[in-house]
Amino acid sequence: MRFLSDFLQYVELDSFLHRLDPRTKFVFFIIMSILTSFVKSGAALLFLFLVFLSIWLIGRIGKYMLVLANKVKVLLLFIFLLWLVLGAFSVHGGPLIYRTAFTLFGNHYVFSLEWYDFYKGAVYALRIFLMIAAFYTVILTTNFSQIILGLQSWRVPYAVAFGVGLVFQIIPMIVQEFATIMEAQKSRGLEVDKCGPLAKMKNYVIVSLPLLFRVLSKGHAISLAMHYYKLNFKVRRTSYKMIKATYSDVLFASATLVATVVTIILQLTYYIQI
C-alpha cells in the first residue's frame, strides 16, 4: 500500500527539478513529446535516454523511474515483440538471422528475421517509454497546485486548470481506495489470490461496485466543498502565490534546447529507414 501510494503522484523533494517554474517543465514535456513522436533513430533516442537519465539523477527521482519501468515493462515487451514479429514478415535487406518461405491458407509468406527487426522493436519500445517518462518526470516533480498556477499563467481558463489539478489530486485517492476495497473484500472471504484467471477477473468486477460508490461519494463531497469555498468560475479569482522564472529555468531551458538540436542532428545523420 505504501509502495503503491508513491506511484502516479508528486514526490516531495527539494531538488533542482522540483524548484523549476512549472511552465519550464511543461515546455520540456511538450518538446520531448514532439521529439519522441518523430524521432526514429536509435542513436538519437539513446542520446535522449541519456539526457533523461541525467535529469532524473539531478532531480533525485531515479528510483521512482525504476518503479515506472517496472510497471510498464509488460507494455514495453509487448511493443518490442509486436514490431519484431511485424518486421519479421517483411524483407528489409539487413543482416539476416533466419529466412524461410511458407504457404498458409493459400497465401504465400516470407519469414525473414533480421537484426533490423530487433533494432526496430527496441526503437519503438524506447520511444514509448520516453514518451511516458517525459510525462511522468513532470508529474513527479510538479504538484497539482503548481500545475494549476502554471496553466493559469498561460491564460488557460481557471475552470480547465482547476479540473486538471483536481484530476492529479484525485488519482492517488482512487488508487488508494481501490487497494483498501480489495483488502476489505479479501478480509471477509473473497478469494482473489488462489483462484483461476476467470474467477479472479469476476472478483475484480465485484470490487468495482464499492469503488464506484466511493468515487461518487467523493465527487459529491468535493462539489459540496467547492460550494463551501464559494468557488465560482464566472468570478475573477486572485492568487496567493506567483510564479516566476529564475536563472535555473534559463539553464534548464537552454539544456533542453541543446538536447533538442543534438537529437535532431543525430536523427538526420543516423536514421535507418526500415
Partner: protein, 555 residues
C-alpha cells in the same frame, strides 16, 4: 448577528418522507451551539439548508419556511473528511483557496493566511504538504482555511469522528481559541463527550423535529432527552445520571473536579472497585512472535511484537495513529506478511495461506463500511461472508438477526443507502454468519449513536459468550475500558505493555507516554482511593453505593 430558522420543513422530493418538520431555532452570536440527534434525524439536512447547499445545489426538494441569515452573510462548513475538502497541495495553498475565490487582493490574502495560522497556532505547518499531516492537523488546517474567509457562521459536521486522542485534543484546543475569539460556531455531532466543555447551547432533533432547545447545563440534567436522542454524554455526567438515582441529595456535576467534590465525603477510604478474578493463563488461540514489518520505502511499522490473544476474550489494541495498530491486525489476517517473525493460529503458522483462507478463522471488519458493502440488498450483505466461505445458513436465522438489530424493515434496501452507523452495524453483523473464531473490529463505533453503540456492545458480548476472541481497535477509550478484558498498548511500532485492563489502568505513566487520557471513571476511582480502579460507570456506582459514608440513598 442572530441566525433564525422559522417554521422550516423539508423533503427531498414530493413523494419522499418529511425530513424536517416545522423547525424553529435560533443560533446566537459568539456562542457555540451543538446540534444533536440520532442517525437519520435530519441534522445533515439542516446543515445543508443553513449552508445554502439546499436549495442552491440541491433544488429538487420541497423547502418551506424562512431562514433568516441577513444580507451578504458568509456561512462556511467544515466536513468530517478534510481530505475531501482541502484544495491545494501545500498547507498555504489550501488555506488561501477560499480567500482567492473571494477575489481579494494579494496583500489581503497574505494577511488573512497569516492571521489564521496565528489564531490556530499552526505556523509550524505552513510549509508542509497536506498529505503528510496527521488527521488532527489536517482538520485544523481545514478549519483555518474556512476561517480565512471570515465566516459569520462556522458549521462543523462531526469534525473529530475519525481522529485519534491527540487529534481530538488539537481540535478541542482550536475550538477553545475560536470561542475566545467570539466566533459563532455550530457543531453537529451526537458525541457530546469531547466538546461539552465549550458548548453554550444545545439543540436536539429527533424525527425531523426540535425536541430540546436550551443550555448545556439544562441538557446534561435531562436524561430522558439524552436517551431519546442517543447522545453520548461525558462519562462524568453519566456517573451523575446513575448515582443521582441512588442518592437523593447528590449535587449535579459534569466535570472531574466537581464529581470529586460531590463524592469525596460519600465513600470510605480504600474501597474496592470490583474484584478481578484470578485466571490461570491458557494457551493463546492466536499469537505473534517477534513480528516485525518494514515496507519497501524503509519505513518500519512494527518492531518485534510478541502478542497473545486468548479464546473468549475481548482484547483492545491502543495507541495513537501511526503506532502500528492497523499494521498489526493486517498481519493477523494475512493482508500483510511479516518481514521477520511469525503469526500462529492454534499453534500453526498462517504463512502460505491466502487472506480468504485465513478469514475462515480470523476475520477483519474494516473501519469504513463503504469499503465492504456491495450487495444489492441488506439481507444479501448480511449473509455475504457465509456465502463466500461456503458456510450453511437459513433465511430464518438471517431474518432473526435483522429483527434483533432493527434492520428487518430495511432488508430489501440498498446497503449504501443506510445511515453510516447502520452500515457499520451491518458489516459487523455479517461476520456472525462466518466460521471465524477470531473477529477483529477496526474503529467499529464510527458513525454510531448511543443506541447503535449499545447494540455493538451486545454483539461483542454475544461473540465473547460463544467463546470467540474479539480484537478491538478503537479511540473511544471509555468504551474500550468498559468492554475489554485485556489491552495491548503500542507506540511508534513497539509494544509498550500487555495485560488486563485493571492491571494497566494502574499504570498512569504508560498512558501519559502514549498521550491517552484514562477514562474519567478510572481517574475518579483513583482520586477517591479505590484499591482497584473501576473501569465502567456501573461498577463505579456499585462501589460507591456499597461503601457510602454519607448522603441519603434512594434504594
Amino acid at each position: 448577528m442572530n441566525f433564525k430558522i422559522e417554521n422550516v420543513s423539508y423533503k427531498y422530493s414530493a413523494d419522499a418522507p418529511q425530513i424536517l418538520e416545522n423547525i424553529n431555532l435560533e443560533i446566537r452570536p459568539a456562542e457555540v451551539t451543538a446540534i444533536v440527534g440520532p442517525s437519520g434525524c435530519g441534522k445533515s439536512t439542516l446543515v445543508s439548508i443553513l449552508s445554502g447547499v439546499i436549495p442552491t445545489l440541491m433544488s429538487k426538494g420541497e423547502l418551506s419556511g424562512t431562514v433568516q441569515t441577513g444580507e451578504n452573510v458568509m456561512i462556511s462548513v467544515v466536513s468530517q473528511t478534510p481530505e475531501n475538502q482541502l484544495f491545494g497541495y501545500g498547507v498555504e495553498d489550501a488555506l488561501a483557496f477560499g480567500v482567492e475565490n473571494l477575489g481579494l487582493d494579494s496583500e489581503e490574502i497574505h494577511a488573512r493566511v497569516e492571521s489564521v495560522l496565528d489564531l490556530l497556532k499552526i505556523q509550524h505547518l505552513r510549509k508542509r504538504a497536506v498529505t503528510t499531516l496527521s488527521g488532527g492537523q489536517r482538520q485544523a488546517v481545514c478549519i483555518a482555511s474556512v476561517l480565512a474567509m471570515r465566516p459569520d457562521l462556522l458549521i462543523m459536521d462531526e469534525p473529530v469522528s475519525s481522529l485519534d486522542p491527540q487529534g481530538k485534543r488539537l481540535i478541542q484546543s482550536v475550538l477553545g481559541q475560536l470561542r475566545a475569539s467570539g466566533q459563532t460556531t455550530v457543531i453537529v455531532d451526537n458525541n457530546l463527550d469531547w466538546f461539552s466543555g465549550i458548548v453554550d447551547h444545545v439543540i436536539g432533533i429527533d424525527k425531523g423535529k426540535v425536541v430540546f432547545d436550551g443550555s448545556k447545563e439544562a441538557f446534561l440534567t435531562r436524561f430522558d432527552v439524552q436517551q431519546q436522542l442517543g447522545v453520548l454524554i461525558p462519562q462524568e455526567a453519566e456517573i451523575y445520571r446513575v448515582l443521582s438515582n441512588r442518592f437523593a441529595d447528590l449535587p449535579p456535576f459534569s466535570t472531574l473536579e466537581d464529581a470529586f467534590e460531590a463524592l469525596r465525603d460519600r465513600v470510605a477510604p480504600n474501597i474496592s472497585g470490583s474484584i478481578e478474578p484470578v485466571e490461570s493463563p491458557e494457551a493463546p488461540v492466536l499469537e505473534t512472535r517477534s513480528l516485525s514489518k518494514s515496507f519497501q520505502d524503509g519505513f518500519q511499522a512494527l518492531k518485534h511484537i510478541n502478542a497473545r490473544f486468548s479464546k473468549g476474550k475481548v482484547i483492545a489494541i491502543l495507541g495513537q495513529n501511526g503506532s502500528g495498530k492497523t499494521t498489526l491486525v493486517k498481519h493477523l489476517n494475512g493482508l500483510y506478511r511479516p518481514s521477520e517473525g511469525s503469526v500462529t493460529y492454534k499453534g500453526a503458522s498462517t504463512a502460505g495461506k491466502s487472506v480468504a483462507e485465513i478469514s475462515r478463522d480470523i476475520i477483519l471488519v474494516f473501519q469504513h463500511p463503504e469499503h465492504m458493502l456491495f450487495e444489492e440488498n441488506v439481507i444479501k450483505e448480511l449473509t455475504f461472508c457465509a456465502r463466500a466461505q461456503g458456510i450453511p445458513f437459513s433465511e430464518e436465522e438471517a431474518l432473526a438477526v435483522l429483527e434483533k438489530y432493527d434492520l428487518l424493515k430495511d432488508k430489501e434496501e440498498l446497503p449504501v443507502n443506510l445511515s453510516m452507523g447502520r452500515k457499520h452495524l451491518l458489516t459487523i453483523l455479517s461476520v456472525l454468519f462466518s466460521s471465524a473464531k477470531v473477529v477483529i473490529l477496526d474503529e467499529p463505533t464510527l458513525g454510531m449513536d448511543l443506541h447503535l453503540r449499545d447494540q455493538l456492545e451486545t454483539i461483542i458480548c454475544d461473540l465473547k459468550k460463544q467463546g470467540k476472541t474479539v480484537i478491538l481497535i478503537s479511540h473511544e477509550i471509555p468504551l474500550v475500558f468498559k468492554i475489554s478484558d485485556e489491552l495491548i498498548v503500542l507506540d511508534h511500532a513497539e509494544k509498550l505493555a500487555e495485560g488486563t485492563v485493571r492491571q494497566l489502568a494502574e499504570n498512569e505513566a504508560l498512558f501519559e507516554r502514549v498521550h491517552i487520557d484514562l477514562p474519567p471513571v478510572v481517574q475518579l476511582s483513583k482520586q477517591l482511593g479505590f484499591q482497584t480502579p473501576a473501569c465502567d460507570v456501573e461498577s463505579f456506582a456499585n462501589a460507591i453505593t456499597g461503601s457510602r459514608t454519607g448522603g441519603a440513598v434512594l434504594e
